[in-house]
Symmetry: C2
Subunit: 462 residues, 2 copies
């Protein structure tokens, strides 16, 4: 393979004849010289190729090269005469690989709106912004794997389709091979799911946590990183119907260990992006959201504060006149409260623990007070909650009682309860919505712009 442009830009000037290949971002002409800016997605910056028109002596070729064309250029790397780059290529050996008709190409040189670019999601990675998003997303993804692999976690692929009855009710997509025009029926007139592919009514998962726990209680430290689905009719800038989740789970670990890992994990992710994508982060800070890189650096550098929910509510109650929603013990914290805690009260990321059991999931470990559970949410400036986790209830009697309180049928959870029947251990974990993290890191306003092909109500094109 030929060297990528990111590597060519780091070369010193020299006589060696190099091959550069990529797509033309811009073309400028003077009487004797043609400048092409070549990009291949390896970095934000392009390689400037300077073509001596007299030596080339092929104006027809040059005029057929336009924005979006794919080309190969050969020549030496030379010191750049212009001020925008250190090196450029001098070439008189140019090959047009694929033309790009100017009149119909949907990407013109001007700046396009993100809404327009969403309609051409198949071409938007060719823009500076979406190329940068793709690179940062890639860096974050790999950092997720690196962090867990370096710390001895086993990557586990939990199932996407499930006929298990223990997923949360509602807001799930059904998966089927039945024909809506010929629905099989039982004698009682019910839909006969024994005729469906899986023999039961089946859904797309909303979380891999419960299955993740089955592997944590065998391998100690595991993580999942895969797609999850929510059939929520939310047309917001923060909701997707299909998104990727990171869910580590640790056995022999309590909520304190959980918080330590969440903090070190988040710092590791942000540090990776700042170190590996400085050019892209500078772009986001300049063109998308000012200071987004500084916010990340702040999270990396600052020890996370800790507050119990009860402490947090006591503080917030004093400022109730500032909020759209006033807070009192028992109410769920809104994004405005979370941001206030981290930005104003603590001036640092903060982990809030010990929430009222009524506002948290059934599997969170009940505290001795019988009222609060060992949940922990990590709040960061500019966003609020970025991670939600908990120590899990490991006592089978308490867990069964909680299920019944919430009208869940313990029999549906027989295998989940087995983990508490046989060699139960304290264990804990958390979830990071991956696109929320990419959104946070890049400052992109709409979550639909940080995943290649967003899925949302009425939106499943490409």
């Amino acid at each position: 393979m030929n060297e990528r442009i990111s590597a060519l830009l780091k070369r010193k000037p020299g006589p060696e004849i190099i091959t550069a290949e990529g797509w033309v971002r811009t073309k400028r002409d003077s009487k004797t010289v043609c400048f092409l800016e070549l990009n291949d997605g390896s970095c934000l910056k392009g390689l400037q190729v300077v073509i001596d028109k007299v030596s080339l002596n092929n104006d027809a070729l040059l005029s057929s090269i336009t924005t979006g064309s794919s080309v190969t250029c050969r020549g030496p790397i030379v010191e750049s005469a212009g001020g925008n780059q250190e090196v450029e290529m001098a070439s008189t050996d140019v090959t047009l690989i694929g033309e790009c008709p100017v009149d119909t190409y949907p990407l013109q040189k001007k700046r396009h709106s993100v809404e327009y670019l969403r309609e051409i999601s198949h071409l938007r990675p060719r823009t500076n912004m979406f190329g940068a998003v793709a690179r940062v997303r890639n860096t974050l993804s790999f950092a997720v794997h690196q962090y867990f692999q370096e710390n001895g976690f086993v990557y586990v692929n939990t199932p996407l389709i499930s006929a298990s009855d223990c997923e949360g009710a509602g807001e799930m997509f059904q998966v089927t091979t039945l024909d809506f025009d010929k629905v099989p029926r039982t004698e009682e007139g019910q839909v006969d799911y024994s005729k469906d592919f899986f023999g039961k009514k089946s859904f797309l998962t909303v979380s891999g946590q419960l299955e993740g726990e089955t592997y944590a209680t065998a391998l100690k430290n595991i993580y999942t990183f895969g797609p999850t689905f929510r059939a929520e009719n939310s047309n917001t800038k923060r909701h997707l119907a299909e998104f990727w989740m990171v869910e580590p789970e640790m056995a022999f670990c309590d909520v304190t260990g959980d918080m330590e890992i969440a903090e070190s994990f988040l710092k590791y992710l942000f540090k990776s992006v700042l170190e590996k994508c400085p050019e892209d982060m500078a772009f986001f800070s300049k063109f998308v959201e000012a200071g987004v890189d500084k916010t990340l650096q702040h999270v990396v550098d600052t020890p996370f504060a800790h507050l119990t929910y009860t402490e947090a509510v006591k503080i917030l109650e004093k400022y109730n006149d500032k909020f759209d929603y006033s807070v009192s013990w028992g109410s769920d914290l809104q994004s405005e409260h979370e941001k206030f805690l981290t930005e104003v009260v603590c001036k640092s990321p903060v982990i809030v623990t010990d929430y009222p059991k009524e506002i948290k999931a059934f599997y969170m470990k009940l505290n001795d007070d019988g009222k609060t559970v060992r949940g922990m949410d990590v709040l960061v400036p500019r966003l609020g909650e970025i991670i939600g986790g908990s120590e899990r209830e490991s006592n089978i009697d308490v867990l069964t009682a909680r299920m019944k309180e919430l009208n869940l049928n313990p029999q549906d959870y027989w295998w989940y309860l087995d983990l508490r029947r046989y060699g139960s251990v304290p264990h804990a974990g958390f979830g990071l919505g991956f696109e929320r993290a990419v959104q946070y890191v890049t400052g992109m306003a709409n979550i639909r712009d940080v995943i290649p092909y967003p899925r949302a109500p009425k939106l499943a094109d490409f």
Copy 2:
């Protein structure tokens, strides 16, 4: 976090008091000493804990510790008296964390059948075999990411749900929020998909390749690694309804480059497992399939042979009396033919290229002969095809003609054709079915045993 058992086993004997935590695999008793074998999934081997019953003076505690119990033991690491391990722990400080009732625990000390273990998929990672599968699968997963990251590929998450009309017909799962009991209808009596969540009939993807190409033609080298789905009614040892696929795609790359990357990728994967999981690989070779590790080493060490399909058929035809299915030009190669080519003819992995267009997909680049396409399949001993790939058709006219030949509507593929309209480039890629690879590496007979929760006809439990 306390040290994992894999680390404890590497310690030198010394006076330091260490904490070991894990699940009891076996317990043996003599009059004065109790031996616990503690496993935490960090490696195949357990830590032997030797408890002086006289010093402990708590027979009630010891009798409540059984196979499957979770315990914490504290004590120094000492040289082992027995011959099975170099070091062990001497402990008189033992805590039972979670009991494991002997009479009901589904995992007894005896060897269970894989069929039985599949019914308790939530507990099977606690066995030697499935712990080893989980660790090898993890190592392979990370090796996939490492290989591509080291070579400048961008990880891209292509969509799982799609309402795009260009997926292959049939064998797809429908995704819906419509109610089978209240199917909305248009005036013409058709199912009114405008009322469905995505506003169109939507499916689970069978491949991320087409969307992957959109990113490769912007970022040059990309890869996907995510779940794909096949609603195929195949109850075999090699089919899953939900499985993970690795699909790299390279722009400015022809079939030759494609083959080079496939070979170096496969060697990288297998080398990683051999280096990082020697203990687990020895287990698979001893208990699952003899010589499985040597086969991998052979693939790593041997340059891949190359044959065109036409050459391969000419060779195979001579041996037609040996095969269940006889071969002639135009027929698809069966697994028996593929194995013969790699095991008998070439005695090395072999890449077969230039297949008849009739037996390959529409997007493969047509050769100048007008009859064959630039597909390439990688065949390995003991299995046959492990990777299938091709250079893609980059000429819009040829591609459109191929679509029409196959009764595909080019309008459904407008965005895919755009890649050939605007700055088209030679590009190529391939696909590796991840579970097939894990099966190959471990020698496990049934593919349902190399994914935590297999999905197949009538099977979507947990």
